[in-house]
């Protein structure tokens, strides 16, 4: 297992290098000129040349690429032209917000979807199953930003129950949070702020996971080894929890891993709807301002998140199914 983990991590290195390369080339291909945005509509030729020289934009593509890779390897993602601070600093500032949103919505999605899918499979073609399938179908076919807007209209605008904008980090210092006197206040406020964005981003995940959980459980429940367990008097509850559940999680994990990509896209929309200053809005600002180093930095971050997701998927596979690491000598 350890050997497998190490090998999997090493395999990620070329993937990351590929992401850096593609990101760099794509950013270079974006039409428009960052210098002209910085200097306004009628730039002075000398100033422009000076800026180009300062940021190395006057050098050939391959030199810039090699420099960039060398910088990235050392942890330097360059300098944001728009914000005037290092890209890493900006990402460090925004990343916790988006991670909080992602973790929270995936927790919500998994905690609701897994039991729902299992019950659905257990009571196949009974009313409970029909209800959960309809819910899942609505969930996968409703755009997340629409759910967000609807929640804001109902719970913020009409009922005035929940805040419609921003997030508060649960670990924030109470002194820096308006209207919070204690740690508990901060936690409550963080929860209130997080609730609607979580549902907005998590519904799609929830629906997708419910569907795969149901079909995976149905498939496993018809396996010969489940029939064997029944034939040996294993109680139905134990069959569901132990004999069937673990096997059924393999396809579920794959879907959760893939949903991570979808969720990154969803985070951009969710952050926009709820005016949350996370990675999603950062990447949009970067693109709008042709802040090319920030665009590259944020894209790299999203790529890295995805790669980590894939590795976690693979490791979970190996943990659940002994056949995956078979042949690895420890």
């Amino acid at each position: 297992m350890l050997r497998y983990t190490v090998r999997r991590l090493l395999q990620a290195i070329p993937v990351l290098l590929g992401i850096v390369t593609i990101t760099f080339l794509l950013t270079d291909a974006i039409p428009g000129d960052p210098v002209s945005i910085m200097l306004g509509p009628s730039p002075n030729a000398e100033q422009a040349a000076a800026i180009r020289a300062k940021y190395g934009l006057d050098r050939p593509l391959y030199v810039r690429y090699l420099n960039y890779v060398a910088d990235v390897v050392q942890g330097d993602l360059g300098h944001s032209l728009y914000y005037g601070v290092p890209v890493t600093q900006k990402i460090a500032e925004r990343m916790p917000v988006t991670l909080l949103l992602l973790v929270s919505s995936f927790t919500f999605a998994i905690l609701t979807a897994v039991p729902l899918g299992v019950i659905s499979a257990k009571r196949r073609n009974q009313p409970t199953d029909h209800v959960s399938r309809v819910v899942a179908l609505i969930g996968v076919s409703t755009p997340s930003f629409w759910i967000g807007l609807l929640l804001i209209i109902v719970f913020s605008f009409h009922l005035n129950l929940l805040p419609a904008t921003n997030l508060i980090m649960p670990w924030a210092d109470p002194v820096n949070v308006d209207g919070a006197g204690s740690r508990l206040d901060v936690l409550v406020m963080a929860g209130e702020h997080l609730l609607m964005p979580t549902i907005t981003l998590g519904t799609l995940q929830m629906a997708a996971i419910t569907r795969i959980e149901r079909s995976a459980m149905l498939e496993v429940l018809s396996e010969e080894y489940v029939k064997l367990a029944r034939a040996y008097g294993v109680p139905e509850g134990t069959i569901l929890r132990k004999h069937a559940f673990r096997n059924a999680q393999l396809p579920v994990i794959t879907v959760v891993g893939l949903q991570l990509t979808a969720a990154l896209g969803g985070a951009v929309l969710t952050e926009t709807v709820f005016s949350i200053n996370g990675m999603g809005r950062l990447i949009i600002t970067a693109i709008n301002n042709q802040d090319y180093e920030l665009v590259m930095g944020t894209t790299l971050f999203f790529g890295l998140t995805f790669v980590i997701g894939v590795i976690l998927t693979d490791l979970s596979y190996a943990y659940i199914d002994p056949r995956v690491t078979y042949g690895e000598r420890e």
Binding site: K227, L228, Y232, G233, V234, H243, R323, Y326
Partner: protein
Amino acid sequence: MNGTDPLLEVRDLKTQFFTAEGTVRAVDGISFTVEEGEIVGIVGESGAGKSVAASSILRLIENPGEIVGGEVRYRGETLVGFEQRDGELRERDDMLSNEAVRKRIRGREIAIIFQDPMESLNPVFTVGGQLREFIEINRDLPESEAREEAVDMLREVGIPEPVKRFDDYPHQFSGGMRQRVLIAMALACEPSLIIADEPTTALDVTVEGQILDLVEDLQQKYGTSFIWVTHDMGVVAEICDRVNVMYLGEIVEQASVDDLFHETKHPYTAALLDSMPRPDETVEELNPIEGVMPEAINPPSGCRFHPRCPDAREVCVNVHPENRAVAEGEIHPHRAACLQHEEVFRAGYWGSQPLDDAERAQRHRELTADGGGADE
């Protein structure tokens, strides 16, 4: 319970599958008994209903299948019992509840070995763990003792280095070794009856021979009764005491193994025996049974075997023979469902016109042409 009662008694058992194409009468009123310490064979082609019959005994039939009639009694307990009441077929009051069958019968009294050793073990749990769990459940042993018992049992069925192999996963075992594990599971629960549902079909011939030898040894040692489901007459000859031959959901012949092979009373059994490859015959001399078995959705009229039967006569198209005692046997009479036994059936077989080949082939084509996808 007295000494003369059979261990298991199946009477007029009927199991049907309700599919979109129609009702499949997979098991259509079969009766047989299993005595203490006996190995009873159920033999027939694929789709004859053998496996369904085996699963029905433990009430393991799942949707869309259902046991719709008959009786299964085991040591005075009613595993399956239906009766006609108010014009409706209902479960009898003395029929065990699902919970009682699960707790008291499955594993503990009657264990089953399935056909495919590759699919019958859960790939994500260790082989020993699965064996241990079944022992814990069915023998009320604490975990540590169940573990010891499991290791002993693995050794008993011929798994080398059982202590080491205990923590291996199913994919680290060969097919033959997995089948040994499944046999260990069945024996370890100390049941009085083991239903073996084609346990050697998926194995190589050499491995099959080893497994059969193993089962014979263990059967002598523990005195366990067996129901051995197979399509292989060779296996029947090697291992069984008595045999039931199934065709399209019915038992067409029932006899001791010697009588079945030497005093064959049903043309289907004769055809099965004739189709067995023998070392003194070439492939050209092999005599396979004509055609394929029709679907059990819409079985042929009269005798269900008549479209393929070389001895079929006009009367066979119209009269349906149930199996009756046609000769004496050692303990049980030799039973067969064939109108040839005029002295028992009195249907006028010998006075009836033989079906000619063309006519029979035509009837067989009609029956099998529109067959749906339903299998046993």
